[in-house]
């Protein structure tokens, strides 16, 4: 996933946030004074600011920051959201949207307007006093207003491959005429750059977007193929780019690669331009050497499909380089580097081919497809059933055709399911970046360890996981971990560790975020909660209850408001997002040793391995992950306990027997355990229970169907599924049933789940 893809996701999220912002402001405008509406508006701006900060969109950040500060005043009731105030805010929302669009598509923003609004917002934030010293000073003049006259944009989207329309005359003249500086970059990646997933080609491409660029690849250090280490980096590039962004603009491209490469960026004074152009190799070389490069890698690979058809067409070169990459893994690195150079020379073309590899599809469409395919499978099964019944001759052509149909439908079903279930890896990768950036800003040294990246979850879950996770990681680094000096003083490794783990557990995905920082300062949390009127001053709270206070809206322990976090949106947003996904979040913290956040999320629509059982004439599915073992109870093993409880002895330990049919109200009296089968289950609380069912039908994979969509949540039932005969079967919620057996009624359990 390259920078642009992540950016694209950010912009898509921005659109949602902007929509929310606007609707919230309009609600306020209509006289809605619900604090939740204000919070929603605030969160939207905050999220945009956070994301924009990560991408270095300074204009957006500075504007959003001012906007946010003013909204904070509204939130804390310092500022009455009158019509006049809201007018300014709605205008600001428009400008924010403009800035977002400008950041995405280029183009310009009415700067006078945004500057006026910044001033108005600040005035509002400080009670109509325009110049207040403590105002978080907005960064002035967006970059678009750089003094240099805007030169003609480089032909980035030009169809034709035009890297060489570069004439020396132009080169000499342009900077002279427009005072556009030429920046010379010596870029030599180390192998770490590639190891960290960066790509030289992408950096070069980004540079090419800044202005007219010429690039020369130095391959002198490339050893012969047999001595080559495929992981090593051998190439270096000399880039000269004519850009109105100047040295800083170029430097920002290499921002995230700086420490993994030798980088020398300098502006070439006008009188030096001649010198640059003297360097004959510089502008003219790229295409020929690419192809020679390809020759080499192609022949090294056995020349299988002649990738190096020499043609001075960069598109062909790119394609050939791609083929070459596939052909040989040994030559892979070389081919990639060749591709890098080729692509850099034809940045426009490369960016066109890079786009379009993925498409974003409305999830509803995928769901509809999955439903239809599921139905297709069932119909096909019923059809073959009736053919078999009506056909004595088992080898008829109809039967053969049906078998083929069966295989096809299975394949379709598998592929469609694969669309939805995706590994959490992309989200985790985004987190790695977040950690790096925050560590940078806070001056802390942090290591992120991820585990279980390939755990597959439903797409919905993945998409919605990124935001809460980002918040949590920010909090973990910003608030959780101590400064390196302090850590050292405490005898800890100065480098903090944040561990992000994903795993499947009893039909849910559990994501854990652990840091080895200071843990929650319960004194401070408690005091803060009292200050914010969240709890009474004399409230007697357990450690766990205090820890959970951080999930309250408007709660923040950070003493100073920073760009990163600390406005008290954060954990409440996290909790809300997790709950919206039907998940739970909990925290456990040990002072001095760090905190662990555990999120448990359902695998909505994921395939579930279940045991199909019969209870009181009904077919139920019990998630296989919950079942430890199954056994046939014998009369001597059953012991009555108290009035209605029964225990079953399993290898000399006693385990409460739970009649599923009784708890689900399928029958009025308790079944005789000897006639049924006991499923030994492990519940989330940890205890074991023996669930009594009448019979086991078998095991199968089932597709989870929502009951809530058309009906409502049913206590004791997690979801529904459709079996091969076309009938609906219910999936048992083992935890709820076990909880019910402890004496809590099922209804009570729901209300707890809804509020907790």
């Amino acid at each position: 996933m390259d920078m642009n893809e992540i950016k694209e996701i950010f912009f898509q999220e921005c659109e949602e946030q902007l929509a929310e912002l606007e609707s919230g402001l309009l609600k306020l405008n209509d006289g809605d004074r619900d604090p939740e509406t204000v919070n929603a508006v605030f969160r939207a701006v905050h999220s945009i600011k956070g994301g924009a900060g990560a991408f270095g969109l300074d204009d957006l950040v500075s504007f959003a920051h001012v906007f946010e500060t003013t909204l904070d005043c509204v939130r804390s009731n310092k500022l009455e959201p009158t019509q006049d105030v809201l007018k300014v805010m709605l205008k600001s929302a428009d400008v924010l949207a403009d800035l977002t669009n400008a950041a995405r598509d280029g183009g310009s923003v009415d700067e006078a307007r945004s500057r006026t609004l910044i001033r108005e917002l600040e005035a509002l934030a400080h009670g109509e006093v325009p110049t207040a010293a403590e105002a978080p000073a907005p960064k002035p003049a967006p970059k678009a207003a750089a003094p240099a006259p805007v030169i003609e944009k480089p032909p980035v989207n030009d169809e034709g491959f035009q890297p060489i329309p570069f004439s020396f005359g132009d080169f000499d003249e342009e900077p002279a005429a427009h005072y556009v500086p030429t920046v010379q970059v010596d870029f030599k990646p180390k192998k770490d750059l590639y190891a960290k997933g960066n790509e030289a080609v992408l950096l070069l491409r980004d540079v090419s977007r800044l202005g007219e660029m010429s690039v020369y690849c130095d391959m002198d250090s490339l050893p012969p193929l047999d001595k080559m280490d495929p992981e090593e980096a051998y190439f270096s590039w000399k880039i000269s780019v004519t850009t109105d962004r100047g040295e800083d603009g170029v430097r920002s491209v290499f921002e995230f690669a700086e420490w993994d490469c030798d980088l020398d960026i300098r502006t070439i004074e006008e009188d030096v331009v001649g010198e640059v152009t003297d360097d004959e190799e510089l502008p003219m070389q790229p295409v020929p050497f690419d192809l020679s490069m390809l020759d080499e890698s192609g022949s090294a690979a056995g020349g299988e499909d002649e990738p190096a058809v020499v043609e001075s067409d960069a598109a062909a070169a790119v394609a050939a380089a791609e083929t070459a990459t596939k052909v040989s893994q040994a030559a892979g690195r070389a081919a990639e580097n060749a591709k890098a150079a080729a692509s850099a020379a034809s940045a426009a073309q490369a960016s066109q081919t890079a786009a379009g590899q993925t498409i974003r599809v409305d999830l509803d469409r995928v769901d509809r497809l999955i439903n239809l395919v599921g139905e297709l499978v069932i119909n096909q099964a019923m059809l073959s059933q009736s053919v078999v019944e009506n056909d004595t001759n088992g080898t008829s052509s109809i039967n053969m055709g049906l078998e083929e149909l069966q295989q096809l439908t299975r394949e379709i079903q598998d592929s469609v399911m694969a669309i939805r279930a995706q590994p959490v890896k992309p989200v985790f990768q985004r987190m790695a970046r977040t950690v790096r950036e925050i560590a940078d800003i806070t001056g802390k040294s942090v290591r992120l360890i991820t585990e279980g990246e390939n755990t597959e979850v439903d797409k919905t879950v993945i998409d919605k996981l990124a935001e809460p996770l980002t918040h949590m990681i920010r909090n973990a680094v910003d608030h959780g971990l101590e400064m390196p000096e302090k850590r050292e003083a405490l005898g800890k490794n100065p480098e903090g560790t944040v561990r992000l783990t994903a795993k499947h557990r009893s039909g849910r995905i559990v994501i854990e975020l652990a840091d080895d920082g200071a843990g929650i300062n319960r004194e401070k949390v408690r005091q803060k909660a009292i200050d914010n009127d969240l709890i009474a001053a004399d409230a007697n709270l357990s450690d766990e209850e205090i820890d959970n206070l951080i999930f309250h809206a408007g709660f923040s322990t950070a003493d100073k408001v920073s760009d990163l976090s600390g406005r008290g949106v954060g954990m409440d947003v996290v909790k809300r997002s997790i709950q919206a996904l039907g998940g739970r979040i909990s925290i456990s913290s040990k002072p001095g040793q760090g905190s662990v956040f555990t999120m448990s999320l359902p695998l909505t629509l994921a395939v579930l391995d279940g045991m199909v059982v019969t209870v009181a004439g009904q077919t139920l599915v019990v998630p296989l992950t919950a079942i430890v073992e199954t056994l046939q109870p014998e009369a001597p093993a059953i012991h009555s306990f108290g009035a209605s409880q029964r225990l079953i002895s399993i290898r000399n330990s006693f385990c409460p027997l739970v009649d599923v049919g009784r708890i689900l109200n399928f029958r009025a009296t308790q079944a005789n355990p000897i006639e049924g089968v006991a499923l030994l289950v492990e519940s989330e609380g940890g205890g074991q229970r023996a669930l009594m069912v009448d019979a086991i039908q078998g095991q199968r994979q089932v597709v989870i169907k929502s009951l809530e969509a058309n009906y409502t949540h049913v206590p004791g039932i997690a979801a529904a599924t459709i079996l091969g005969d076309g009938r609906v079967a219910l999936i048992l919620d083992v935890d709820a049933v076990v909880a019910a057996s402890r004496g809590q009624s099922l209804k009570q359990d729901i209300s707890l789940a809804a509020t907790g």
Partner: protein
């Protein structure tokens, strides 16, 4: 289709009439998605008595409501002759079990008479009026008031 809809607007509305026991009822045809035969439903634990269970409607889980019982009459004993009216109620889709679908009516507002005074609270809650068609009496039902969202969430 467009002309049909336009005609609908100018010439009143279309209703679908069905029979439960001896009585006839009707609902707005726009809320009816399809009509299908009875298939045995999977019963739900802790469901109100009028919810017979859920069935599979092309991959979606569809709750089936015994409309007779819901309207305060005696519970239905579903046979293959019974039909399920699949109707959109708010954001949800429910299946209504009725004895038979009898008619499609095109009526204007003048045809609809107000609910008589003698009706008790239950009937008043769902009845939007009565129609007299060819000597028959048909009661117009408002589905939204029969299955309010708050109720289904609390249930």
């Amino acid at each position: 289709m467009t002309t049909y809809a336009v005609k609908n607007l100018t010439h009143g509305r279309e209703l679908i009439a069905f029979r439960i026991g001896e009585q006839e009822f009707c609902v707005n045809i726009m809320s009816v998605r399809e009509i299908r035969g009875w298939t045995p439903a999977t019963s739900m634990p802790h469901a109100p008595p009028y919810v017979l269970g859920v069935i599979n409607l092309r991959g979606a889980v569809l709750p089936i409501v015994d409309l007779s019982l819901r309207l305060g009459m005696k519970p239905a004993e579903p046979t293959v002759r019974h039909v399920i009216i699949v109707a959109q109620v708010g954001p949800k889709v429910v299946g209504l079990l009725v004895d038979a679908v009898s008619d499609i009516l095109t009526v204007t507002n003048e045809n609809i008479q107000p609910t008589p005074d003698i009706a008790n609270e239950t009937e008043k809650a769902y009845a939007r009026g009565i129609l007299a068609i060819e000597g028959r009496m048909i009661c117009l039902i408002e589905l939204d008031s029969l299955f309010p969202h708050t109720e289904s969430e609390a249930a």
